[in-house]
């Protein structure tokens, strides 16, 4: 009798845990509230890449969290098809592929399984560690990477096909936000892509979002935040702690533009219906990208756009690739900004990885 009762008690509990823990990952391919498909990504590298790039790969994985494989193991003999085969059942929609040649590092962003593929040349990059090192107080709250980042695209003028593709690609690489249901506390990070029309370069930045109440002195804010007994030694009265203004260190000038009224409380200090200032602090990595090629397929197929070659050229893929490489070689030698060079040196590129 007792046993039976126990079993009855246990049964719904077990089912509940199942739904909570095991089915979550399966369901996670679809947003539970909006019902939209959540994009997932793999970040991996092709060919041999040096240490700093490996670090960059790790940083990118962290950036793409939580819908990415943080500890994706790859072997040298893994080819793209292997990743593609895994991507299908896992619901992975995007690939971010790092590679390295003698001239520069490259980042390919592709949608699976059909493409298109955008190839970016990484002109410059800094790792998250470098960025943190350059800051006085690097910020990394515990739950920073538990929610996906927002994305802000700026300066992309619509109309141009490659740019349109780029905006589309990067918009879809992060889960869409439903304005009506999103929790502001889950907006912790932001990825900024800023297109510079003159240099044709894209600045890739990654910031953490911090909200601070306005109109509250720093002391009180800290007091509320930290819950620590403040140092009152130098004060005559307790009221001094409240009334005495702190340093005017905060730049109040451009704060009006960066204030928001919150609809819900965030944390302990940011109450709803109170003005809060939006503060961004860079997390890294940062990259300066340059779109060099757009392919129709996944790292293959018709070349829709090439920074150096003719876009209409439908030669064999490998030739195209070589040409691209050559042009980059020339480009590098003459300076990084201009890309009009139509070099025709036949030079075997050495470090390039196989694409299929």
């Amino acid at each position: 009798m007792r046993k039976k009762k126990h079993g009855e008690f246990r049964r719904p509990f077990v089912v509940k845990t199942n739904t909570n823990t095991k089915q979550q990952p399966h369901l996670a391919s679809v947003d539970p509230i909006t019902g939209k498909k959540i994009p997932k990504s793999f970040v991996f590298s092709r060919g041999k890449i040096p240490g700093p790039l490996k670090q960059l790969q790790m940083d990118l994985r962290k950036l793409m969290l939580p819908y990415t494989a943080l500890s994706l193991k790859e072997k040298r003999r893994n080819n793209l098809k292997d990743f593609l085969n895994v991507a299908g059942p896992m619901g992975v929609t995007h690939f971010l592929i790092l590679s390295k040649t003698a001239t520069a590092a490259y980042l390919r962003v592709a949608t699976t399984p059909q493409g298109p593929t955008l190839t970016f040349k990484i002109n410059e990059y800094s790792l998250a560690a470098d960025v943190a090192k350059s800051q006085l107080h690097p910020r990394c709250p515990k739950d920073l990477f538990t929610k996906s980042a927002l994305i802000v695209l700026s300066g992309f003028v619509s109309g141009d096909l490659p740019l349109k593709l780029t905006t589309n690609m990067f918009q879809n690489i992060f889960p869409t936000i439903d304005v009506k249901t999103v929790k502001l506390s889950s907006c912790q990070r932001i990825v900024l892509l800023n297109y510079n029309k003159d240099t044709k370069q894209i600045d890739f930045r990654h910031y953490s979002i911090r909200l601070q109440p306005i109109g509250v002195s720093r002391r009180i804010r800290k007091f509320v935040q930290n819950h620590q007994v403040p140092d009152l030694r130098n004060l005559q009265d307790v009221s001094d702690f409240v009334t005495k203004a702190g340093y005017g260190s905060e730049s109040e000038a451009d704060e009006e533009a960066a204030t928001v009224t919150l609809s819900s409380d965030i944390g302990r200090v940011n109450r709803a219906s109170m003005k809060s200032a939006v503060k961004l602090q860079e997390i890294g990595p940062r990259m300066t990208l340059q779109l060099v090629k757009v392919e129709k397929g996944l790292c293959s197929g018709e070349v829709l756009f090439s920074e150096y070659g003719k876009p209409g050229d439908k030669g064999k893929h490998d030739d195209e690739d070589n040409e691209m490489q050559d042009n980059e070689d020339e480009d590098d030698s003459e300076g990084s900004e201009d890309q009009d060079g139509n070099g025709s040196e036949v030079d075997e590129d050495e470090g390039h990885e196989e694409l299929d």
Binding site: A104, L184, S263
Partner: protein
Amino acid sequence: MAEVMQLRESGGLLRKRKLGKKQGHKKKPKLMPPPHGQKKVKVDKKMKKLFRKRAREYNSDDDDEDEEENEASVPTTTNKHNGDEIDSEEPSEDEGKTEGGRKGWNKNATDEDNEFSEDEGGEDDGVVQPGIMKFTEGVRAFKMAFRNIINKSVSEDLLGPILSGHKKLIADKLAEEEAERETKGEAKKEKQKLAEKGHVTPANYLVPHEKFLISVATKGVVKLFNAVNKAQSAQKGLDPSRTKDAKEIKKRTKAAFFSELGKPSFTATGTSAKANARTGKVEDEQPAWAPLQDNYMLTSAKLKNWDKMPDKSVSDEVERASEDSSSDED
């Protein structure tokens, strides 16, 4: 005394060895070449000595006789051939000289199977005995030679005395190695440089460009947050878990969906084309409540042609209704 002990042991060993051979390998000793067999015996002897010594140390309380007797009793039970042999062994334990005689007797007496192994045993004893002597002599000679070498005085040199003959050669080689290392280091540096290509460390201070980027990103965040605020303040105070409120929310989302359908699709503008904030942006464009809109009842062609396009007007009505309901909350 030590000698006696040794001999006794050797006698024991002989017996033991024979026993083993008899039991297991009757044909093996014949097939084996003599030197190999001899060697094996030698090793066995050493090991056995060691084992014996250990055993003695282990049960030091027991006297030797006891041990011997035990051993002697083993072969009698298992071996028929050596029955008389054991008798002959008793004197050999006391006197080393009779050992040889015993051996000879053994040689004659044992059958053909045993003969070979017996031979080996004889040889073994013969070799080992003078070998030990030679070894001790050799140690002395070696000691002398070694001391001679050690005492020799040699010139202090970097390369040492042994390489003195090839001094020039060695110097060349060292120089070559040095050069090689240098080139290797250079190549490594080059490789490092290549690996680090494009890797820049950001400056400690805020570069104007970075400031600009941060401001752009901030603008985007502010825009999104405002949109979220606008959208969510409407349904504030409604708890989705309560059925009544859930119904209300459902109604509103449905209305919003229809209103979205009625509106022209949003086209991305130049700066901050943010897909995520799309809905918020559309709402930005005009006040939610219809009478507050600038063009309310003025420019709407729908009102003019209300009788011509009934379908569209229906959808418009839905839209109006939705906006009304949402504005009630505000």
